[in-house]
């Protein structure tokens, strides 16, 4: 590891830069020191841990599919909007990114919960969303989809529209242009946005707890299980944290590896 010679930076910059790195790295190292590595297989084999792990993977997979099927069209439409409406629609679309998760959970509960603004009518038809696995998926999608939308929309805005026009002159219908030109051009952004959305869903805590509660096997995802066990069974909480860190690291690295190979 070395600094490239042609990108010289003032030496003093290395001091705050190192502090920043330490802020992130030291706690991670702290965890690694404390984790009871030998006991990890046994800790992860408990029913509560297994339930949380599988629930997290299932709900995150579902919310990522939802984010893609709904978020991609939203990103494409947003990238073509101009004017005041565009600003408003974009603000609404990405608001969950800056919303405190507990507030996100609360607005979902108030709207879709059993006595919620919409939920009360859904209840009449026998559809109860609150405190079900579906609620977990909705909470995760609510919070994570904006990451996909904003990543893809940004990439779409910087693509060359002239390429789409040329494709149209060659006889490609709008759907063909979307499928064979527009989306392939932002392929790396879709991949990146999807993994970030998945990672964000995996870590979802506040909105899930508020909207979906904490029922083992139904709504108690990994982060909820870790929070629950942090004092009563610290070792299990640490073991599950290692799993989350490992998953997150893989998700961070995967897109760059895939993109590099396709070059």
């Amino acid at each position: 590891m070395s600094l490239a010679p042609d990108t010289a930076v003032p030496r003093w910059l290395l001091v705050p830069a190192s502090a920043a790195l330490a802020l992130v790295a030291v706690p991670l190292i702290g965890l690694m020191v404390r984790v009871p590595w030998a006991q990890i297989p046994r800790l992860l084999a408990t029913p509560a841990a297994q339930d949380a792990l599988w629930l997290s993977l299932r709900t995150c997979a579902a919310s990522t599919v939802l984010s893609l099927t709904l978020g991609l069209p939203l990103a494409v439409v947003l990238s073509r909007l101009t004017g005041h409406w565009a600003v408003m629609v974009r603000t609404i679309s990405v608001l969950p990114m800056v919303l405190p998760p507990v507030v996100a959970g609360l607005v979902l509960l108030i709207t879709l919960g059993r006595r919620g603004v919409l939920g009360q009518y859904l209840s009449v038809w026998g559809v109860d969303i609150g405190f079900t696995t579906a609620a977990v998926v909705i909470a995760q999608t609510f919070v994570s989809m904006p990451y996909l939308v904003i990543t893809v929309e940004g990439a779409l805005r910087s693509t060359d529209r002239a390429l789409e026009v040329v494709a149209a002159t060659l006889g490609a219908r709008p759907t063909t242009v979307l499928r064979r030109v527009t989306l392939p051009l932002v392929g790396p952004a879709i991949l990146g946005g999807t993994t970030v959305a998945f990672a964000r869903a995996l870590g979802e805590f506040g909105a899930t707890l508020t909207f979906a509660g904490s029922l083992q096997g139904t709504t108690r995802t990994l982060p909820l299980q870790i929070y629950l066990q942090r004092e009563t069974d610290t070792n299990q909480a640490l073991a599950l944290s290692v799993v989350l860190i490992a998953l997150a690291s893989v998700l961070m690295v995967a897109p760059t590896l895939v993109t590099r190979r396709s070059r």
Binding site: L163, A168, T169, L170, G171, A172, T176, R180
Partner: protein, 367 residues
């Protein structure tokens, strides 16, 4: 030739926000070059034909089909217009072969059939061996040839060339020009250009656009023989002074009497608008009046310089504001200590000035 290729292209349309009211027609199988300064309406015309722009009124017809009129608007992908722009615009995620096969595929051909057609088109532009390259691995000239192959692989009814050589270096532009001359001849083609060489190698007809209007159009040699605008004269490489014809060989223009020789093919009529045409090489610049054979001697003021091969093209403005270009050697220019705004005399031998009737304003056959 199919039926659709038997009809040409007709544009009679207005685009209000751009202040354009454009009327022109391209005869079937001919190439019409559009020339005019920036902002004159050339890109509006391109948009009207490609389908990116909707006319506010009027109509656009291509190959006997309505592209746009009061009741229809054919979207870009249904016009069968082969479009080649300044940039090649190859799709970066597809290789060369699949770029060329894109059009046939989009029009419903199977993968194998589309690729066979693409190989054929690549052979025509001499790049069959680059089929598996990525666009990023091509030179600018190669990429533009691939773009041409791609445009022609769809058997377009109309070919739209929007300054296709403007971004290429001289050598690449020359071979592209030769290739275009071969591949486009016989197709109904609209060519937007800034380059005189394109006119002489590619165009059958020329239309001159200025301030949102087609101010003249017709067979190339006729239009350039009596350039209707200063811009057209520049492209044709001649000086053009607009004035009123007087006695034989005389035009009052530039605040002075211009003496020249009437062109027997386009004789000016006394009292009617006439053009005095002469080459920049025939203009000499002097600080004091020269003596000798009968000459035109006009007071002028230097308005600009630009390199012109080994010479320097000096632009001077006559008393009435009309411009004249003079090609002088760097040495002559240095000896005269010329600078912008300097007053001097522009001198042209009468024998070098051709006097013609000014073309009537407005395009023939418009409306």
């Amino acid at each position: 030739m199919s039926d659709s290729a038997a009809a040409g292209l007709a544009v009679h349309a207005t685009v209000t926000v751009r202040g354009c009211d454009l009327h022109l027609e391209v005869a079937p199988g001919r190439t019409l070059a559009i020339i005019g300064p920036n902002g004159a309406g050339k890109s509006t015309l391109v948009g009207l034909v490609s389908g990116e722009l909707r006319p506010d009124s009027g109509h656009v017809h291509g190959a006997g089909r309505p592209f746009a009129d009061a009741s229809t608007f054919l979207p870009v992908h249904r016009r069968r217009v082969g479009y080649l722009a300044q940039r090649p615009l190859l799709l970066p995620h597809l290789d060369v072969l699949d770029n060329v096969a894109f059009g046939p595929r989009a029009r419903g051909a199977g993968r194998r059939e589309a690729r066979d057609r693409a190989r054929e088109e690549l052979r025509e532009v001499g790049l069959a061996d680059l089929a598996r390259r990525r666009p990023i691995e091509l030179s600018g000239g190669q990429a533009q040839r691939v773009a041409l192959a791609r445009a022609l692989a769809t058997d377009p009814d109309i070919v739209l060339l929007d300054e296709p050589m403007a971004a290429l270096d001289v050598a690449a532009a020359a071979s592209m020009r030769t290739l275009l001359a071969r591949r486009v001849s016989g197709r109904t083609t609209l060519l937007v250009t800034h380059d005189a060489l394109d006119l002489w190698t590619l165009a059958d007809d020329v239309a001159v656009v200025e301030q949102g209007r087609v101010v003249a159009s017709g067979p190339r040699d006729e239009v350039l023989a009596a350039p209707p605008t200063g811009f057209a004269a520049d492209l044709a490489g001649v000086n053009r002074l607009l004035g009123v014809a007087g006695a034989t060989g005389v035009v009052s223009a530039g605040g002075v009497e211009v003496i020249g020789i009437d062109d027997p093919d386009l004789p000016p009529r006394p009292g009617q608008p006439a053009l005095a045409l002469f080459e920049p090489a025939g203009v000499s610049l002097h600080l004091t009046a020269p003596s000798g054979s009968p000459r035109n001697v006009w007071p002028a003021r230097v308005s600009g310089f630009q390199p012109h091969g080994p010479l320097i093209r000096v632009r001077v403005r006559l008393l009435d504001g009309q411009q004249v270009a003079a090609d002088v050697t760097p040495r002559a220019m240095a000896e005269m200590h010329l600078g912008e705004g300097d007053e001097l005399l522009a001198v042209v031998k009468a024998a070098q000035v051709r006097v013609v009737a000014a073309p009537a304003p407005g395009p023939p056959g418009s409306g």
